[in-house]
C-alpha cells in the first residue's frame, strides 16, 4: 500500500515523571485510498489522541506516519508547514458541524481552496459541485443557522472534501443525528471515499453505524486491534430499519 495513510508504532506520552500518561502505546494502522474504516473504543482509550496526532494537531512522542507517498512524521515532523498539511492533505469532520456562522454555505466550503490560494470563482465552482453531489446545492446561499442538523453536517463533509485531501478524519460525525440521518451521512462518506479516492477514518461510539464498516480498529489502553466488519450498505440498513 503506497497511498492512503499508514501508521507504525505511534506513541504519545503526556506529562513527565510521576504524572506521565501513555495515551498511545504503539498504534499500527493502515487505511487505503477510498476505504472507510471505523475507530472504536471506550472513553479514555486514546481515540481522540490518535485523531489529534493524525490531524497534526498534537505532536506524537515517537513512531511513523505516512500520508500517500509522503512521510509526515518519523519521530519528528517531516513537514515544515503543518498548517498547509491540515489545509491541503487532511479533511476534518467533527461531531458538531462547526460551520463559520457569518459565511453562507457556499463560502463555508469555498474558504479552504481560497485559503490555499485558489481564485474565488474557481473555489466557489468546486464548492457548488460538491454541495450538489451532497444534495445541498439548493442551500448554497443559505446561512448555516438556516440549515437543519443533517444539512449542516453534509456541508461540513463538503468542506472536508473540497481540497480533495487524501485522508478525512471524522470524529463522531453522526452523534447528534437520528439513525436514518446518521446512516445517510455514512453513506455519503462512503460514496465520497470511493469517488475521490479518499481514506476516511471515523471515530465513533454509534452502534447503528458500526455494521457499515468493512474494517474496524478497536483501540484499548493505547493499542489498536484490527477486525473485519460487516460492511453493510447504509441504504440496506435504512431499509431494514424502516
Amino acid at each position: 500500500m503506497t497511498k492512503g495513510i499508514v501508521i507504525e508504532g505511534l506513541k504519545k506520552r503526556y506529562g513527565t515523571g510521576d504524572t506521565t500518561v501513555d495515551a498511545l502505546k504503539g498504534v499500527d494502522m493502515q487505511v487505503a485510498p477510498g476505504e472507510v474504516v471505523g475507530l472504536v473504543g471506550p472513553s479514555g482509550s486514546g481515540k481522540s489522541t490518535l485523531l489529534k496526532c493524525l490531524g497534526a494537531i498534537i505532536k506524537p512522542s515517537s513512531g511513523r506516519m505516512r500520508l500517500g507517498d509522503e512521510i509526515i512524521y518519523d519521530d519528528q515532523w517531516k513537514i515544515p508547514d503543518l498548517r498547509a498539511l491540515r489545509r491541503d492533505k487532511i479533511g476534518f469532520v467533527f461531531q458538531a458541524p462547526y460551520l463559520i456562522p457569518f459565511l453562507d454555505v457556499i463560502d463555508n466550503v469555498a474558504l479552504l481552496p481560497m485559503l490555499a490560494g485558489e481564485r474565488n470563482s474557481v473555489a466557489r465552482k468546486r464548492a457548488v459541485e460538491l454541495l450538489e453531489a451532497l444534495d445541498v446545492g439548493h442551500r448554497a446561499k443559505a446561512m448555516p443557522s438556516q440549515l437543519s442538523g443533517g444539512e449542516q453536517q453534509r456541508v461540513a463533509i463538503a468542506r472536508a472534501l473540497v481540497n480533495r485531501p487524501p485522508v478525512i478524519l471524522a470524529d463522531e460525525p453522526t452523534a447528534p443525528l437520528d439513525s436514518e440521518r446518521a446512516l445517510a451521512v455514512i453513506g455519503i462518506l462512503n460514496e465520497m471515499a470511493s469517488q475521490y479516492e479518499t481514506a476516511i477514518i471515523i471515530v465513533t461510539h454509534d452502534e447503528k453505524i458500526i455494521p457499515t464498516f468493512k474494517r474496524i480498529y478497536h483501540i484499548r489502553d493505547g493499542r489498536t486491534h484490527e477486525e473485519a466488519g460487516e460492511g453493510k450498505s447504509s441504504r440496506e440498513l435504512i431499509k431494514n430499519g424502516k
Binding site: 490531524g55 494537531i57 498548517r83 498547509a84 498539511l85 491540515r86 489545509r87 491541503d88 476534518f92 462547526y98 463559520i100 456562522p101 457569518f102 459565511l103 463560502d107 474558504l111 479552504l112 481560497m114 485559503l115 490555499a116 474565488n120 446561512m143 468542506r159
Partner: protein, 376 residues
Amino acid sequence: MISLAGRDILHGWGRFLLTGVGLGLLIGVTLSMAGIYRGMVEDADVLLKNSGADLWVVQQGTLGPYAEPSSMYEDTYKGITGMQGVALAANITYLTMQVREGIRDVRAMVVGVVPGGPGEPGQPGYLIAGRHITASHYEAVADVKAGFALGDSITIRRNRFRIVGLSRRMVSSGGDPMVFIPLKDAQEAQFLKDNDALLQQRRRITDNPLFNRPGVPGLLEAVIASQTTNLYVNAVLVQLKPGYRPEVVAKNIHRWKQLQVYTQPQMRSILVDKLIATSAKQIGMFLVILSIVSAAIVAFIIYTMTMAKIREIAVLKLIGTKNRVIASMIMQQALGLGAIGFVVGKIIATLWAPYFPRYVLLEPGDAARGFIAIGG
C-alpha cells in the same frame, strides 16, 4: 479571498453598529473635552485679537488688566498718545459682575469703552446686529452668549442700559460674555456705593475736623467729590503706527511713564500660561483619563468580540488559516469599529458643541490624533 471581517460585520451589523455608536459617544466626549481646552486657548487669542491693541499699558508691577487688578489715572492715555510710534491710545476698564435683565442675571465681563470710537483699541470688533455705542451714557453692546436681544434693558448696579448692538466671540478668559458700556458708566459701576454708604461717608468726612475747616472754604466739598468719583481706569490699550516694533515702543513707555507694558505675545502668555493654566491642566488631566478609559473600553470590546468568536477562530486555524489572516480579521473589525466610533463621535461632538456654555473648538488635528489613538 473573501473578507472574513466584512462578512462577520455584515452578519451581525446591528450589534456592531450599536457598539460603534456607544464607542462614538465616548469618543465624542473625549473630542469635546479636547475642544473645551482648545476653546479656552482660542478664547484667549480672540480676546487679544478683538481688543485691537498692540500694547497693554497697566499699573506698574501688575499683570493687569485680565490677570490682576490694575489702576491708573484716566488721563494717562494723553501722555501715551504723544509718544513716538503710538497711533491710538484708549482707556478701558474691565469688571466681571452680575448683569440683570428682568428677573434673570448673567455673569458678564463689563467693559468700559470710550463711546463713538469704533476701530479704536478696546472697542467691540464687528457687530452681528445693531450699532456701536454713540451716547455717553446708558447704552450697551453685548455678546450674543449673554442671551440679550437688541432693545433689551439691562441693569448694571443701579443704572439701566439699553442694548444697541450685539457682538460675537467677545468673551473673557473665564468664558463670561462681554458687555460694553460707556467708560464713565463703567468707572462709576466699579466704585459706586449705595446711598446709605454715601451718606455715611459724607457724614464721616464732614465730622472730620481735618477736612471740615471753617477757615478753608471749598475743602470739604473737594474732599467729598474726590471720594465719590472715580478717575481711574484699568488699562490703556495702544495701537502702533506701521513700522514701529512693539518691544521698542513698550520699552519707551515703561521708561518714561513708569508703567507696565505688555506686548501681544506677553499678554497671551499671561492669559494662557497663568490665567487659564489651572483650568487647562484640570481639563488636560481629565482628557488623559478619558483617553485611557476609551482605549481600555476599545480593548475590552475587541477582546469580547474575539472571545465570542473563539470557536470560529479555532475552526479557522484547524482548517489551515494563517494566523496573519485571523489577526487581520480582528484588526479590520477593530478599525471598522474605530471608524464608526470616530465618525459618530465627531458628528456628536459637532452637534452638541454649540450647547456648551463655553466655546468648544474641534480641531481636525485633535480628531486625527483621536482616530489614530483608537485605531492604534
